[in-house]
């Protein structure tokens, strides 16, 4: 009986704990002095620690950008590694302030999961990786294939939709972590490995001989990946959203980590508003007026982050494509600061 009571009390404490966060995330983060950011523990280019435990990746850098906007210090982030299954509960329960973990923005997540997506950091789509020796050149030839993937993602649903709509039988083998998906794929348990195309490029690097594997041309879904926060905290939502917009606007204005100091004295009114010498845009969202300047000074603009983490010069070698600015043929477009 004693045990029962103890567990009930523990349960009650957990439920109560879930409601504790929510008064004001921005104030909570400021008071704590550190941003708790949920990231992928093992996706090269998006979120992964290196041998020294130093985190890197596009999603990871976004966390740093938000920390810069708040604290003018990109190191004030505590990275919380989360798998696909844990991520939403971690955000809902207040364990993290911000989820920046290659998460697809979907309607059900935006509605019944109690989340809000602050924008899109990476426009992605689901693809397939196969062995070149399989002699397949299109996903439409995968009828009857065994497909490995990770559980608890939109991937499983897209896969089912795609094969069903093309009337192709398939078999899905779903693991909890992408390490095991890759091992099983490498062992030959499945013919194909499916996840977001960016993820496939990242995972392929971990294979013993990456050159023996290819990514099929078909992209079977839209996967807009972006940072998410809890619903019902507009102030915090605005901070995260505008940090992303600042990264994009900086690239469009030609502001980089290297040149932002000299541009600070520019006469361009747009840049003046951006770096905070004109207007009150920072304090209007609960930050200092030079918040956007700090973000760019500390981490760089969107283009710089892209190039450093996933761009053509990295191991992943992903072209900008859709993720280029709207003015350069892509669809990345941020509302102006004015």
């Amino acid at each position: 009986m004693k045990k029962l009571i103890a567990s009930i009390v523990a349960g009650a404490a957990m439920v109560a704990g879930a409601s504790a966060a929510g008064a004001g995330t921005l104030e909570d983060v400021k008071a704590r002095g550190v941003l708790q950011c949920g990231v992928n523990p093992s996706l090269i280019g998006f979120g992964a620690p290196d041998e020294k435990g130093e985190w890197s990746g596009l999603d990871v850098d976004f966390c740093r950008a938000v920390a810069s906007a708040i604290f003018n210090d990109p190191t004030k982030v505590k990275f919380v590694p989360l798998n696909a299954k844990e991520r939403f509960t971690a955000l809902q329960s207040g364990e993290i302030d911000l989820l920046s973990r290659n998460t697809t923005w979907t309607m059900s997540r935006d509605s019944s999961l109690g989340l809000m997506f602050a924008g899109v950091t990476y426009y992605d789509g689901q693809g397939f990786m196969v062995r070149k020796s399989l002699g397949v050149s299109s996903a439409l030839e995968l009828s009857g294939a065994k497909v490995c993937t990770q559980t608890g993602t939109t991937t499983e649903l897209n896969l089912a939709d795609y094969f069903r709509s093309h009337n192709m039988p398939y078999e899905v083998v779903a693991f909890e972590k992408n390490e095991e998906v890759l091992q099983a794929y490498e062992a030959g348990r499945c013919d194909a490995y499916t996840t977001d195309a960016s993820g496939l490029y990242a995972e392929r690097l971990k294979l013993q001989s990456p050159d023996e594997h290819m990514i099929l041309p078909e992209i079977i879904s839209k996967e807009p990946l972006g940072p998410a926060v809890r619903q019902g905290d507009d102030k915090w939502f605005t901070v995260v959203k505008w940090t992303l917009f600042a990264l994009l606007n900086a690239e469009e204005l030609g502001l980089t980590k290297a040149n932002i100091d000299e541009k600070k004295t520019s006469d361009n009114p747009e840049i003046k508003r951006f770096v905070g010498v004109e207007g009150d845009f920072g304090s209007a969202i609960g930050l200092t007026n030079d918040w956007a300047y700090n973000v760019i000074k500390d981490v760089g603009n969107y283009g710089e982050l892209f190039d450093a983490n996933v761009g053509p010069s990295t191991k992943l070698g992903i072209a900008r494509g859709l993720n280029n600015l709207w003015s350069k043929g892509g669809i990345q477009y941020a509302p102006p600061i004015r």
Partner: protein, 405 residues
């Protein structure tokens, strides 16, 4: 006036006596406890519901009827993506029961063997058993799970090749491929015959044992039972016009590469995820069961063995008729514990892609976001299974308990 005071005093005395009565007190405390418990439960539920609503998270079990939309690699019942979340969870539940049930059988058999072997007078056998127990118990189950699963995957031929045994069993990385029984009309008769045969065999065995006790002669009940269990259904099988046939797995060696290998839907495929999990669970739990068995046998007085030997019983007979029956009293309670552990440990399945209740439930949780409902389903299921297991084991325990005369 005076009498009134006396009256009140007596009343108060009676009331105090009422409170001090240990029986009454016990009942009162229990009622108070139940009220507090009820209030706590109400508060938790109410608080959770309010918080979920505040956070704009959907609640309720309505999602169980919605379309699941994801595939599952092993389903014991009819399932496809168009079925509901509820159906998907049922598939996961049955998969858990399958692996836990078989795991318990295997772990018990292996555990008893190793446990007895540890006490063997043969130096080598005893040392091997000791090494087994010590090594297995000291490696985390998850690591063993990965070891067995990936060892299974690495050591067998790829998807387009196979190993065959007796032309019936085929193994490759896709799993074990065996003929699948197909039941036509009349198959139920064979099933019924099998059931009757087993019942009859049980009666024969019981009669045989009574006969042995009474006369000291053992009738050949083993042979009679075998004839009943195998022969009776076999006769009915032919009389009913052979209603059970087998669908053999088809292996394509021609055609496009992706088409080669075992044709989907032919024969019965036992997936490697199942093997990996089953082997790991059985071997891991068997090590603990071996210790339980060893302790149980040790608990039986040495004099029992000596007495049995002096009566002329051989080593095997001593073990079977004297030691183990007495050891069972000690073994059953901790054995129950191991069975419960095995069942709960089967939830590690998700690590090796075996679609058990936790794995499927995790996907459902992620698609719907209804963590509270999903976790409560898990809790109810595992609690129910544990209670059921422990009930069955307790009944058995009462049956083998030492009867004091």
């Amino acid at each position: 006036m005076a009498s009134g005071g006396q009256d009140a005093g007596r009343k108060a005395g009676r009331a105090a006596g009422f409170i001090n009565n240990p029986e009454v007190r016990g009942v009162l405390f229990q009622i108070a406890f139940l009220v507090v418990l009820g209030w706590l439960a109400y508060d938790i539920i109410e608080n959770t519901a309010r918080n979920l609503q505040k956070a704009n998270i959907a609640s309720g079990f309505g999602f169980l009827d919605r379309t699941a939309g994801f595939g599952i690699v092993q389903a014991l019942i009819d399932y496809n993506e168009a079925r509901s979340y509820g159906r998907a969870l049922l598939v996961g539940l049955l998969n858990t029961l399958l692996v836990a049930g078989l795991g318990i059988l295997l772990a018990t058999a292996l555990g008893f063997l190793v446990g007895v072997a540890r006490l063997s007078s043969n130096w080598l056998v005893a040392r091997i058993a000791t090494a087994y127990v010590e090594i297995i118990r000291n490696i985390p189950l998850l690591l063993q799970l990965f070891f067995w699963y990936f060892a299974v995957l690495r050591s067998v031929p790829g998807m387009r090749e196979k190993w065959s045994f007796l032309g019936v069993f085929h193994i490759n990385i896709g799993g074990l491929h065996i003929p699948r029984p197909v039941f036509a009309d009349g198959a139920a008769l064979v099933g019924a015959a099998l059931l009757i045969g087993i019942l009859a065999a049980l009666i024969v065995v019981r009669w045989g044992r009574k006969r042995l006790d009474a006369t000291g002669q053992a009738p050949p009940s083993g042979w009679i039972s075998l004839a009943l269990v195998v022969g009776l259904p076999l006769v009915v099988f032919f009389l009913a016009g052979r209603p059970i046939s087998f669908d053999v797995p088809v292996f394509n060696e021609q055609g496009p590469l992706l088409r080669r290998g075992f044709q989907a839907g032919s024969g019965l495929t036992v997936i490697p995820e199942f093997f990996g999990l089953l082997i790991a669970l059985s071997i891991y739990t068997a090590a603990y069961i071996a210790e339980v068995v060893r302790a149980g046998i040790r608990a039986v007085n040495e004099g029992q063995t000596e007495a049995a030997h002096s009566l002329g019983l051989r080593q095997g007979q001593t073990l079977r008729y004297v030691i183990v029956p007495q050891a069972m009293r000690v073994i059953i309670p901790p054995l129950t514990n191991q069975y419960l552990n095995l069942t709960k440990n089967s939830s590690l399945a998700v690590a090796v892609a075996y679609p058990d209740l936790v794995s499927v439930g995790g996907t459902v949780l992620n698609q719907t976001g209804q963590a509270v409902e999903m976790v409560s389903i898990w809790m109810i299921f595992y609690l129910g299974l544990s209670l059921l297991t422990s009930y069955v084991m307790n009944v058995w325990n009462r049956r083998v308990a030492l009867v004091e005369r």
